[in-house]
Amino acid sequence: MLPILAQAEIPEIHWLPLIPHLVMAGAAVVLLTIVSLVGSRLPPWFASAWTVAAGLGVLATAIPVSIRVSQLGPHSTIAGSIGVDHFSVFIVILLAGTVVLTALIADGFLQREGLDGPAFYVLLMLSAAGGMTMAVANNLIVLFLGLEILSLAVYVLVAMHLRRAESQEAGIKYFVLGAFASAFLLYGIALVYGATGSLNLIDIENILRNDNLGDNGLLLAGMAMLLVGLGFKVAAVPFHAWTPDVYQGAPSPVVSYMAAGVKAAGFAALLRVFFAGFGEVADDWQPVVFGLAIASLAVGSMLAIVQTDVKRILAYSSISHAGFILVGVQAATDDGVASVLFYLAAYAAMAIGSFAVITVVSGPGDEGTGIDSLRGLAARRPLLAAAFTVLLLSQAGIPFTAGFWAKFEVITAAVDARSFWLAVIAMLAAVVAAFLYLRIVVAMFLDAPEPDAPRLRIPRGPAVAVAIVVLFTLAVGVYPEPILDLADDALLSLRLHVPTH
């Protein structure tokens, strides 16, 4: 009998594009090892610094990957299951940045709350590795695994504040609904597999191009289920029910990661599947995404108004932002994809910054997230209030912030795809949403602080993180061209894979 290993035909593996993933996941495992060996002797900031270093390492290793893509063009590896293109590089960089910033924010937070430090960072990095997998996945099963890695870690992160009942409640809610959604996603994958005979997105696209499967019931049902599953991850209405509760209950740094990282990964997967895989049958899914976008915009903006908890407000606003991004997805054009990527980058910065501020303001126990706790922040901590204001205005889409260009790009894509009414509705929703950001600004600047408000301590980590995102927001607001170019490059490669089997 032949030796077992000799029988398998090992597929060609390009190692370079995998290095960022290996760095991220490897850093998590090494951290786990180090902590279990010498945990008690490490300084408290060690895990955070390690995570920041890992994130920066991913950023550094993403550069050669990007160069390689520029030279070779987009290609895939490991039997076509991994797509190497600028799109994935963009998302990888975004996720790495998110990890770095979240680690900075979490540093002071975990010490304040007395939570398990290293575990938090390990889960964070592993989750990000899952998100990166989603971004590169050219195979539906790989994509699903990436999604699960991402989600499972986040379920734990959400629930890990053991002293807060809200945290665990959020965790179980997120978990149950998340598992429900992944079941739908999986069923969708199975149906698509049945309809096309393949799990590989490149193959699926080829099949759809050659055979007219646009009216195949299996394919339609499969796409619908995939949309349910991914719509859940990106918190699109009507799959948004978890968002406010989870955002409110989860530890604030986790929320910043969820809003930025999880959403980005979710949209990356959405684009990969629907734009790269099902691009040929865009007519079938566009109307549905249109509906999701409108519903998300409307519900997100409207329901936010009646909330009194800042985290809840921002949760609804994240739903509204998801609606905006879906406007770009709905366009189903290259411009649309670029606009989505740009929006994701801009939103990541704003969301991380906003939740960083909330992390600082909420105080011991992570309890002070009511809008009252922000009252008079301008008088207590002018710089923090100013930074938060910049981020909120960016979320509202005020010029000279990154948020403006994000909306600009998305609306451009929609108008270019002749979805005028969608664009109008989106902008109207933006105005409604602006109201709720103003409520927060009003509380910070126009209300007097409570007389017995404790003095806020701003740890160094969150301060650095907020400074970075505010600078990013303003810099991109004034000169968005570099990021725009990156996003434009990223879209070009998405559909031009050279399959290597």
Partner: protein, 100 residues
Amino acid sequence: MVTATWYLILAAGLFTIGAVGLLVRRNPLIMFMCVELMLNAVNLTFITFGRELNDIGGQVSVFFVLVVAAAEVVVGLAIVVAINRRRPQATADDLSALRG
């Protein structure tokens, strides 16, 4: 003779039962079990399609689904245990601190 459609319809039925169960039951543990039902339906679908398509990919997918199911259950039960330690005998209805 049993055709693939029979299996697929059985899977669809199982999936529906799981989904409905998850929506109507309030005990988190039973909700998890309903998720498992749904995943099983998916597995059956995968295997049926795999055989119809004469492709091993369906079975390999099921393998991954099993791994995911196991990992999910571990995490989910860990959360349930943590909740129960604080508040014994909680059902989904008792978890209502988060409202808005």
